[in-house]
Amino acid sequence: MKRKASLFLSAVIAIFVLSGCTTTENINTQDDRGQAVMGLDYRDFQNAAAEAVSDMLMSGAVDKPDGSRYVLAISRVVNDTMQRIDTDQLIKKIRVELLRSGKVVVTTAVGADGPEDAMSRQARELREDDEFNQGTVAKKGQMIAPELSLSGKIIQRNVRINSSKQQVEYYFQLTLTDINTGLAFWEGETVIGKRGSNRSVSW
């Protein structure tokens, strides 16, 4: 009986100790010293977006000759990796940064898969509706058509190094197209490579 009680007590202590070991910590996103992972994490998107924006600003591709802002539409960004990625993780960062630069404004009324914000169109259906003050309803011919389009692709390539190691390469490819001429004003590629155990999954 005494032995059973001591065993139970030891088990309880062990559970307490172990539960104390599994602590959750917040990530310092400004200076994350956590171990790299084989898949894509927020640091990779941040690096790719920062590199793309810096390169775009330095190239002069978003400098409108008259000094005003370009209107940018977000086109298709293809996820060609083995991971389930929302490409907005990359594109949103680029959009925010370009908007802050004062050189580009993004339209949400036009997109490759339809408008990002359908409200611009829906609000126009209020025309002729007596319930609404017609002076406050959006007028015809007020929307601004996009001048530039941002498209891209995220590619993943897995390379086997030996029986225990693998290399995963991610390519962030982006293109800024002048819609009027169809010419690519700017193109950029950021490569992020990771090397690790074959047991780590990158999908």
Binding site: Q30, D31, R33, Q46, N47, A49, A50, V53, S54, L57, M58, G60, V62, D63, K93, V96, E97, R100, S101, G102, K103
Partner: protein, 126 residues
């Protein structure tokens, strides 16, 4: 008289040593996080220009004067006319690998026309 003859070589040695101590380039915009880093990393110049789009561009030129390759990280904060920091995703720790006895450069562009100044921090890669 004999004293003068013993002091003269000492004075010459002191003058020679003083000549060897070269004045290092110092820039208040460059900050080393790790105190031992300035011994090995010599900043040779910091240049700025306003590009055709009206954005401030900076270039830091430096040299790894040590016998070892170095993995470094740098971070650039952009400041407006009033000294306030401008929020940007480009303000993050970036890695740079530098071979021993080699020159390297860091080039960056300001996030907007509001960027009037910058501060660059350098540390060993974590």
């Amino acid at each position: 008289m004999k004293r003068i003859s013993t002091l003269a070589p000492l004075a010459i040695v002191l003058l020679f040593l003083a000549g060897c101590v070269t004045q290092r380039y110092m820039d208040p915009r460059v900050q080393f996080i790790d105190t031992t880093l300035p011994r090995d990393i010599i900043v040779t110049s910091v240049n700025t220009r306003i590009n055709d789009g009206g954005l401030l561009e900076m270039q830091l030129s430096a040299r790894n004067d040590s016998y070892y390759d170095k993995n470094l990280e740098y971070r650039i904060e952009w400041l407006d006319n009033n000294g306030f920091e401008i929020k940007t995703i480009t303000t993050k720790w970036n890695r740079v690998f530098v071979n021993r006895h080699s020159d390297f450069r860091v080039i960056q562009v300001g996030p907007s026309e509001a960027a009037a100044d910058f501060r660059i921090q350098i540390r060993y890669a974590r």
